[in-house]
């Protein structure tokens, strides 16, 4: 009778603990498989010396990537200031016009702007960090008044991006492609 109570089919405490942990661990593992690593991309761009052109004038990154962009004003002679401003398609002229009478300074709350660096004097550098938007071609330009007509380029965003959301370090973020860190001079 006593021996029947201690039946060998009854699971041990260790087995029960392992069973309890197995389910959540399996769930976490499955979730990880569905979340690809956040792509980290470093981009560099510069002014073509003192001329109103970017070098290169085309950049590429995958959709949803965590992008760190460095801009270098390579001018030597002219006191013209330059910056790098990334906007949604079809918004370049409107944003350029909007800041024309404000020395080209980009306000922090313009929803048409994805990312931007502050203005740079000749020889100086600035950096900005942002999450790349979904696939497509996004124009960028220098917002110093009068420069945007010539000094512009295109960021080609490739590959599928999870619609509406992006991830950084495993944390799911609602899509807001604006600069995640305000651009700063180096």
């Amino acid at each position: 009778m006593h021996a029947h109570l201690h039946s060998p089919v009854r699971p041990s405490r260790r087995t029960l603990l392992a069973g309890c942990l197995a389910v959540p661990l399996a769930v976490i593992q499955c979730t990880r498989r569905q979340q690809p690593e956040q792509r980290v991309v470093d981009l560099s761009i510069e002014s073509d010396g003192d001329f109103l052109a970017f070098r290169p004038d085309e950049l590429t990154c995958p959709g949803g990537a965590f992008v760190t962009l460095t801009f270098h004003h390579r001018g030597k002679f002219l006191s013209a200031r330059h910056n790098w401003v990334l906007v949604y398609p079809g918004q370049l002229e409107a944003v350029d016009k909007a800041v024309e009478h404000n020395e080209g300074i980009i306000p922090g709350d313009d929803p048409r702007v994805i990312a931007w660096t502050p203005m740079c004097d000749k020889g100086s550098m600035a950096m900005t960090k942002f999450i790349a938007p979904g696939p497509g071609d996004y124009p960028f330009f220098c917002s110093t008044p009068g420069h945007g007509e010539c000094m512009q380029g295109v960021l080609h965003v490739t590959g599928p991006a999870e619609a509406g959301f992006h991830r950084i370090g495993g944390v799911r973020l609602q899509a807001d492609h604006r600069s995640i860190q305000k651009g700063f001079n180096i």
């Binding site: 001329f51 109103l52 009478h101 009068g146 007509e149 000094m151």
Partner: protein, 155 residues
Amino acid sequence: MKRTRATLAVLASFGFLLALAVQPSAQQLKAPDDIKTTLRLLVQVSNDFKRQITNKNFARVPHEFMEYTEAADALRSAMKGESADLRAKTETRLKTAVAAYQKVSDMSAKETDVDKLMAEHAKAVTAMNAVFDLFPAALRPDPNLPPPGRGGRRG
């Protein structure tokens, strides 16, 4: 009549040859690349003047004039190693050009008539072209080239 024409033709040919002889070739210059770059800068800033006037952004015109003087100084620096004769000629014409652009800049403080400002700008361009005439064709900015940059190429 025929004699007069022949004399004129001879004189014109002589003048042309003299002009060619006076104008240095690109090979004769010490820093042709630097000179070419600074001449292009003068054109770029001149075009910036035009853009600001056309867009009625008159407050920016004095800033463009400041850049024009910087581009002129860059040309002076690029010419440091050249002959005294060429430097003197360049300086004379450059001063005239800078004065012409200053006139546009000064006018823009009061004048809001785009046509009047553009007419004054056209005079300044003529003065600038007189500077370019001192240099070999290979160094002169091509007036038919679009502005630099992707936007400029798209026209």
